[in-house]
């Protein structure tokens, strides 16, 4: 109140920044970690060849994981389930929520393809028992089955289930579970660093006016507001 904040000019700031040393190896590791976690196998291979950075996970396991993710994204859920079980049978056996979501996705695909009778049979045989055991599963099951009640599914209240985003959500869930089972972090490090940057800038902003990075993708310093 009253006193204005100290101002740091861009020149001053850039000078200080130059004094901070960042190691190349650390950056390479961050990039590799990002590529590996997101599943960009070929990019990871190439990067490894070109930079000499070793991935923290076996790259062959990435291909397996990516195959599963892709299968879900294409709507071949049964295929995805088989692949996950080949990779590690424990994942679905110890992850009831994930398993339910995969089965739910199977149901959605059956409905999408107009296989109504099969969908009903599937819901009854595979999903209903899960619903009996768990209240939230039951609610989700009911939402999914209600898709069958609507003529125009694209406009109904639960229409988002048929959206591609639903597949992506399920795919992401499977991806995270596989990573966890391989004792790998399911999130890349890069977002955490960026969050830390934003937080630190906000903290500093309370005390000092300084050149901020507002656009993360460009990372340009913007003059301090006086």
């Amino acid at each position: 109140m009253g006193s204005s904040k100290k101002v740091i000019t861009r020149e001053e700031w850039e000078k200080r920044l130059n004094d901070v040393k960042i190691r190349k190896e650390d950056m390479n590791k961050l990039v590799m970690n990002f590529l590996v976690t997101e599943g960009y196998v070929e990019a990871a291979e190439k990067f490894r060849m070109e930079s000499g950075t070793e991935p923290d996970i076996d790259l062959t396991t990435i291909s397996d994981r990516m195959a599963v993710k892709k299968a879900v994204q294409c709507g071949n859920v049964e295929d995805a389930i088989e692949k996950v079980n080949d990779l590690n049978p424990e994942i679905l056996d110890t992850n009831p929520q994930l398993f339910f979501h995969l089965q739910q996705q199977r149901l959605i695909e059956l409905i999408r393809n107009g296989k109504i009778e099969e969908a009903l049979e599937f819901a009854q045989e595979e999903l209903a028992p899960r619903g009996e055991e768990n209240q939230s599963f039951l609610e989700e099951l009911e939402r999914t089955v209600s898709l069958l009640a609507f003529e125009d599914v694209s406009n109904c209240p639960v229409g988002e289930l048929l959206d591609i985003s639903q597949r992506l959500k399920t795919a992401s869930e499977v991806n995270a579970a596989i990573l966890t089972s391989q004792n790998h972090e399911k999130d890349p490090k890069l977002p955490s660093l960026l969050k830390m940057l934003i937080w630190a800038q906000n903290q500093l902003d309370e005390k000092v006016a300084f050149p901020r990075i507002n656009d993360l993708s460009k990372a340009t310093l913007e003059d301090p507001t006086v």
């Binding site: 079980n85 679905l92 009831p96 009778e117 028992p129 209240q135």
Partner: protein, 683 residues
């Protein structure tokens, strides 16, 4: 895309027949399909189990292993069969006890062990995983650590770099290590050092598995703990303490649980208030975790604070009750979590009034009352235990806080049906799935009610109105002695300082013959409660003393007989106080009592009175002397005669020897008796 007919192709029975095919490719495909159908699906596991899938798969495993041994070679088809059959068996065993049993019954265990030595990595891995699933169940075969070659095998497992194999080693320890001898053997074999190294250098799952194994080896064994932590310079147990702050919730929980085991066995470790507060804080935080970790956190919390006032105080300051309440409020809790939170609250309120006040001030009581009507038996029991502990608050009992419909009616509904045996107790509401709950739950409900019965206000009639009193009387006739004694306990509290009308109501429901037979019950605990009930019934009002004379003095006679052969002091205490209260009545009453004191003597020279007066138990001596006080009270005409009888039986001289009794209450009453006896010109 699978068509309707394709779905039929996957019917279990059809699949099983394909398992029996001679063509290895058909077999592998069928195995893989069975595996894929059962993984994650408990219903399918059960239906395949019923069709005999497990022996079929176990048979295939056995045959393939024989093939490998005979040909000294494992081709890719056989490897596939081994992997798929092991995976299928592992899945049957995963979290499914019936499956574990079936796998063991089918003789698959030794074959799975043989897979560990298979050169094919995938095969060995599948075997290790399947075995690990088995060892997560309490049905797993007991591992004999004391045999040298078993210990060597275990060490080789732990030394493996493969996670599933070292994980198997840890699971075996966690499951099978029970006795202190085994714990010591594991220590001597250097296993703890290995596990400790995995805490720092291993992967996430290896760390978690090690924490569990360490806790198992430390449990109740201060010697092993001090051998492990003692030689450490600087911060002992730092490897475990550091993991309390790990980023993975499960690791944090397991680290806390390990430290709690250590502390419970060796309280001089982890004295530092900082670490205690940290563990409390972390466990309360873990309640936020939506997975099984959050479900188990409250149980760990209970094991930390149970019976320990200092920790309860610390937890109170950390706002434990607020936080537990906050989670309880959320509703739709997984039954395990619900039960855990209620038990944690129960433990918090077990000793400290400050905790109970906090509990009541937050209005947690209403939520706990709701839990009394939950579908899950464990939840209901936990709610009863919680109520029982909270109602120990005398301050609130006397304010009549608990005697209301919200609490009393659901509690009464939890009373077991007295006409059935232990296994047949039924939940009395009309739910689709009648829940049966064992003896402990019935006793818990009665325990909660007992405390509430000590209500000092006039609202006890609520309990009568909702039929609770009648039910308690019915339960006093139960086949289970624990139910009988707890029902009597509740009735005893109910009539404590109650008005005459209430007392008469209880008595007429009980009847003299039932009460006298309960006094003579084969179980001492029942005898004690029955006598205490009589004591409370006749206390305070002369008219009620008549009750013991009903039906030709049935009850009075029973009391006298029971005192003659009292098996423990508590029975003597309650019986004597009952007689004492009767003797506070009129002349007729006093005469009847003194008769009881001498009637049962038979060829014994000594009345039980002398035995009681010479007892080590101060309360028993007090009660007996009090009775003599009432019998020799100078204002009653028959006092001299009674005094004479007592003198002749050597009772007065016994009392004279007690002028310097260490117990003040006894000393004072002794003086009264002697003073009264001198009023009749005694020497």
């Amino acid at each position: 895309m699978p068509s309707a007919t394709a779905v039929n192709k996957h019917r279990p029975s059809e699949l099983l027949s394909r398992l029996a095919s001679d063509d290895p490719e058909v077999k592998v495909r069928a195995l893989r399909e069975v595996k894929n159908q059962i993984i994650g699906n408990p219903t399918k596991k059960l239906s395949f189990l019923k069709l005999g899938a497990v022996p079929a798969v176990a048979g295939i495993l056995a045959d393939s292993i024989d093939e490998v041994t005979n040909n000294n070679n494992c081709n890719s088809n056989t490897s596939n069969i081994l992997v798929q059959s092991a995976a299928a068996l592992g899945s049957f065993a995963c979290g499914f006890d019936a499956g574990v049993q079936a796998v063991l019954d089918a003789g698959a265990f030794p074959n799975l062990l043989r897979l560990l030595a298979n050169p094919n990595e995938k095969v060995a891995d599948a075997g290790a995983r399947a075995l690990r699933m088995i060892y997560q169940s309490k049905l797993a075969p007991k591992y004999d650590f004391l045999q040298q070659k078993n210990m060597e095998f275990l060490i080789s497992l732990l030394n493996s770099e493969k996670e599933n194999v070292s994980g198997l080693g840890a699971s075996i320890i966690t499951r099978s290590c029970e006795t202190s001898l085994e714990q010591k053997a594991l220590f001597d074999a250097g296993i703890l050092r290995k596990l400790n190294s995995l805490l720092g250098g291993g992967s996430l799952s290896q760390r978690d598995a090690s924490l569990e194994s360490l806790a198992t080896i430390f449990r109740n064994n201060p010697e092993v703990i001090s051998k492990f932590a003692g030689p450490e310079i600087g911060r002992p147990l730092s490897s475990i303490i550091d993991l309390v702050k790990d980023r993975h919730p499960r690791t944090r929980l397991l680290a806390c649980m390990c430290l709690i085991v250590i502390r419970n066995a060796s309280p001089h470790f982890l004295q530092d208030i900082g670490i205690k507060s940290k563990i409390i804080h972390i466990l309360l935080e873990l309640l936020d975790d939506p997975s099984q970790v959050g479900d188990e956190a409250p149980f760990a919390f209970s094991s930390l604070i149970a019976q320990k006032e200092d920790l309860q105080k610390l937890a109170l300051e950390a706002n434990a009750i607020d936080k537990l309440y906050h989670h309880l409020k959320k509703g739709s809790l997984h039954p395990r979590r619900y039960e855990g939170i209620l038990l944690a609250l129960a433990d918090m309120c077990s000793k400290l009034e400050s905790c109970r006040s906090k509990f009541l001030s937050l209005q947690v009581l209403n939520l706990v009352a709701d839990a009394l009507t939950d579908h899950n038996a464990g939840v209901r029991t936990a709610a009863c235990v919680c109520l029982k502990n909270v109602t120990r608050s005398i301050k609130n009992l006397s304010a009549g806080y608990f005697m209301n419909e919200i609490i009393v009616i659901p509690l009464v509904q939890l009373f077991p049906d007295p006409s059935t045996s232990v296994q047949g107790f039924r939940w009395q509401e009309k739910s689709e799935r009648p829940d049966t709950f064992p003896l402990l739950d019935a006793v818990a409900a009665l325990g909660a009610v007992s405390n509430i019965m000590v209500d000092f206000t006039t609202r006890k009639s609520i309990f009568v109105q909702c039929g609770g009193m009648k039910q308690l009387v019915q339960l006093a006739k139960s086949m289970e002695s624990a139910v009988r004694s707890n029902a009597l306990w509740a009735l005893k509290n109910f009539v404590f300082q109650a008005d005459n009308r209430l007392k008469e109501g209880v008595f007429s429901e009980l009847t003299a013959s039932l009460l006298s037979s309960l006094i003579s019950d084969p179980e001492p605990s029942v005898q004690e409660q029955a006598l205490a009930l009589v004591r409370n019934l006749v206390d305070g009002c002369i008219n009620l003393i008549e009750l013991v004379f009903a039906e030709d003095g049935l009850i009075l006679g029973a009391i006298g007989r029971q005192l003659q052969c009292a098996s423990k002091a508590e029975i003597g205490i309650q019986g004597m106080y009952a007689l004492c209260n009767v003797a506070s009545g009129n002349e007729f009453h006093k005469e009847a009592v003194i008769q009881q004191l001498f009637t049962q003597m038979g060829d014994k020279n000594q009345s039980f009175v002398i035995k009681f007066l010479q007892s080590n138990d101060c309360q028993l001596r007090t009660a007996t002397v009090w009775t003599i006080v009432n019998l020799t009270c100078p204002s009653s005409p028959g006092a001299p005669g009674r005094l004479e009888k007592l003198r002749n039986a050597g009772i007065i001289s016994q009392i004279k020897n007690m002028v310097n009794d260490p117990c003040v209450d006894v000393k004072l009453r002794v003086r009264t008796v002697l003073g009264q006896s001198m009023a009749f010109g005694d020497n």
